[in-house]
Assembly symmetry: none
Homo-oligomer: 192 residues x 4
Amino acid sequence: MTKPDKRDEIIRSALELIAEHGFHGAPMAMVAERAGVGAGTIYRYFENKDVLINELYGEIEGKMQQLLMEGYAADAPFRARFLHLGTALLRYFIEHPLDFRYLEQFHNSPYGVAVRRDKLLGNREGGCNAFKELFEQGTAQQVLKDLPLVILFDLAFGPLLAAARDHILGFIHLDKQLITRTIEACWDAVRR
Amino acid sequence: MTKPDKRDEIIRSALELIAEHGFHGAPMAMVAERAGVGAGTIYRYFENKDVLINELYGEIEGKMQQLLMEGYAADAPFRARFLHLGTALLRYFIEHPLDFRYLEQFHNSPYGVAVRRDKLLGNREGGCNAFKELFEQGTAQQVLKDLPLVILFDLAFGPLLAAARDHILGFIHLDKQLITRTIEACWDAVRR
Amino acid sequence: MTKPDKRDEIIRSALELIAEHGFHGAPMAMVAERAGVGAGTIYRYFENKDVLINELYGEIEGKMQQLLMEGYAADAPFRARFLHLGTALLRYFIEHPLDFRYLEQFHNSPYGVAVRRDKLLGNREGGCNAFKELFEQGTAQQVLKDLPLVILFDLAFGPLLAAARDHILGFIHLDKQLITRTIEACWDAVRR
Amino acid sequence: MTKPDKRDEIIRSALELIAEHGFHGAPMAMVAERAGVGAGTIYRYFENKDVLINELYGEIEGKMQQLLMEGYAADAPFRARFLHLGTALLRYFIEHPLDFRYLEQFHNSPYGVAVRRDKLLGNREGGCNAFKELFEQGTAQQVLKDLPLVILFDLAFGPLLAAARDHILGFIHLDKQLITRTIEACWDAVRR
DNA sequence: GATGAATGAGCGTTCATTCAT
DNA sequence: AATGAATGAACGCTCATTCAT
């Protein structure tokens, strides 16, 4: 367990710098310095910067996925499941602002587009699978509006991401109650 | 009238390159070449790259603002005004995908945050003023949910931006009907 | 004619460094410094280091080719023509030791092999064409030994290159007489 | 007897990589991996990369020297001895293309020049001693042309090296007969 | 003795910006 | 005013070498 030590430091350092200053503002030398390792050391753990960026994305997605499913009752009423997932997602972002900022940077880049495409087409295991199933079921049971899956996603996630950003940037403070009410508003958008 | 000619070419060239390839993929030399001017000439019109980026943002915002207000009846019923603005916005993005891609790049950067802050605080003239007034009025008249303005913005715009992106990236095709239904769903999110 | 000034300086500087220290010992920064230009300037004239290396080769080959054919009488007796070409070649090397050292470095590299192949197959215009014609004619007229063209080349050039190297490295001094006698010895090797 | 095992593997691995890809294409880590040892282990057997390169050269020279003298009859007629040595040398190269390629790389480097100087001056035991004696004797007995020893070497070896290279690179196929005839041609070059 | 993770100087290359023309 | 050649700091990455285990 001593080995991943350095890898973790590098990942953490890259996360911080990229989240705060974008890909531009995170030269490998700076990542190395903040991680407390030599510049060349990064390349023992990651083939190149692209790989580092993608693996960091994978790590975040994994953590998110896990937290999202915690306490998720697949047999709960439809609305309850929606609220659970939405709340968990928003909470994750609020509690992990660096992760959130990183994901935004990532999605706004060539990699991000490819990943998003794979997810929508279901080619990729990812944090949205639970959502995807839920939405497909909801559509089939006519609980949700008769809109394409993609649009339902946009209606549900668009506001969550925007709200998370506003909270993180300090434009607003999302407390427990406000989170709930925001997600209920999203529910109004997608429900029939 | 010959001067703004070059300025326009530079602006257009920067827009195309940044929208398509990001800030990374738009070196000043390439912007100059595509604009048909010398590399140094850019610096006669824009102090540096940051200024160019910010002014380009301003131009787009101006155009958008103008189109948004076209045919906007300040005395129409509340819901109609919301639908009008939302539709105009989404249409603008669909018809000006380069502008949309540029705005995404821009918002995802240090500048973007500052601009957004100014807008929310009302320090800045901008495309959202009509929305801001509308929402403030809606809140006061209890037509809209009793949520902070920022959250209402997120509920209304978050899905629109997401949908526009999906359309531009080819994940879905937004026709007239789908646009309308999407915005009506947004209305469901914000209305009481 | 002021433009090629810098290009020439770069070429000259690269020639000197590579001839003296090999490709390894000629980092672009050092080439630039010796040429009295900025590091980035090299890339205005040569796309990358490989291109610089190849163009430098082409320049030398061109100069050599020209000097080789100076005073070459296509209708002179066969032996005289051989001696003329051989002498001209050896003289060129002796008078342009940097060029010679460079060619050796070049031929001893991936590029060099490809170039050599093209030349032998006649796919490439080059300094050996005169030799090639001469040798083919000599073989047809049964003046030369009945050996493959490639071997005849080796018998004629191998010693010349070796002698040039020995001279340049100071192992021997090739004066006019010794040059003549060396080439006459080569003639003995190839003649029937 | 377990130690030289590793040393041999390192030597072999370095030979293969350098012969095939040049000094550039043979990083120590790759040499180590191919040799099946740790990267640091190389430094137990060789002080640094330069030493490795030089010792590898010595090994090849030793092997060559030994093979050259096999079946060499010091009392055979002069021409026969020349042909024997020449043939043995050319055969060695053809049968050990990696060694040949390595020697070419080596001679084309700062080390190479020093070694060649030592050899010519007789300061160094080496594969050419038999040749050197033979040539000095031949000069004294007036069997060979009255040319400096160095030039005689060039006339004899230059073509052999060139022919070996052409064979190894596939530009020609040297069979037994062609080898003989090539060396006979070299003999014509040096004999009086 | 053997290892291989760690290092950091050094590489080839890019690009925002300047300035002589 | 307009140019574009020139710059050099900064980038991502490699690799000979060291040293704690």
